[in-house]
């Protein structure tokens, strides 16, 4: 199995014990969401709204 690596990997964690998703952009910006569609729009929108 190839673990995802590289400079442009985005990750989505299902926050344990909740219904929320935590999105982590390759730029290290993080944000929690309840809606996966809205979440992908934010991740895809990099760098808009990704400044920490």
């Amino acid at each position: 199995m190839t673990a995802p690596s590289g400079d442009r990997v985005v990750r989505v964690h299902w926050v344990q014990g909740t219904d929320r998703l935590r999105a982590v952009c390759h730029c290290s910006a993080e944000r929690e969401f309840e809606d996966p569609v809205e979440m992908w729009e934010w991740l895809l929108g990099h760098p808009v709204g990704h400044a920490s």
């Binding site: 299902w14 996966p36 992908w40």
Partner: protein
Amino acid sequence: MTSIPRDQWYVAAYGAEIGHDLFTRTVCGESILFWRTRDGAVTAVPDRCVHRRFPLSQAPSRLVDDQVVCGYHGFTYDAGGRCVAVPGQSRIPRTARLLPYPVVEQDSFVWVFIGDRAKAEASRIPRAPWLVSPDHTTVAGMEPLRARYSLLVDNLLDLSHETYLHGGYIGTPEVAATPITTAVDEQAGIVHVSRHIDDAECPPFYAKSTGLRGRIARWQDIEYTPPCLYLLHSRIAPVGSVPGPDGADPDAFHVEVVYAITPETEHSTHDFWCVARDFALGDEEVSTFLAESNRTVVLQDVEALNVLEQVIATEPAGCQELSINIDTGGLAARRLLQRLCAAS
């Protein structure tokens, strides 16, 4: 705009399907003629005579040595698609040529490149080495699906459906109940979806093949390389067993489930499936059980997706669907597919 990405490699067949005989399959709406030449290479050309478009796979068309002779008027082509004979005259028109498809035979599959031949880089073909590894035993099949390929992508990227659609075979309650982790490698263009279940019921598919009884640890790690290749690394182990720091995992059973998702047309798909295991090597009884069980599971998906295709195809435009957390991987796959379509 088409929903099928071009300038991509697709699995057209298993290598074992193609011998020294004419074989045809439609890939991405293109009818392709295959045969294996006497030196063992697979050749692929359009399955239409340039003269009057007669299918070259259609009897009485025939293969003579390494040349195909059209059964309608006798136009004859070599393995490179060059026309070498036409009836009644010695001059062969300059345009009498079948443009060959780039072909690579790898990991038991025959891959063809659909699109601009100049962009066909064999190094871009994703690998599934277990299928030909002496350390694994593989069973495989292919089922025709009367549904668009994206429905199968949705299906395979969200395995929570196993609990409901495949209950009693591979589904148990814990699959749908366990959260997933998703990652997208933007550069490599790969979607990863992981579900690690630490304590689960062992479904019959794994209980009968591994001999494990009672509760198990069940890991599902998906790698999808759009558009065609889907890998599910399935790990089954006694509860509490984890791989060592060096990767050694002697207590676990590993099954590599491989799908090649090849669009036939905009509304039909070739559903290639393979199950490669690292245990019970060569055991015919286990092979027969896994082949029959997996085919049953695949047919459950086929039946459901055939119905879903009819629903979607006849719905008015603008019908909304709803996505929740379990769809995170499927949504990522759609996004990569849209990107590939836009690029082509």
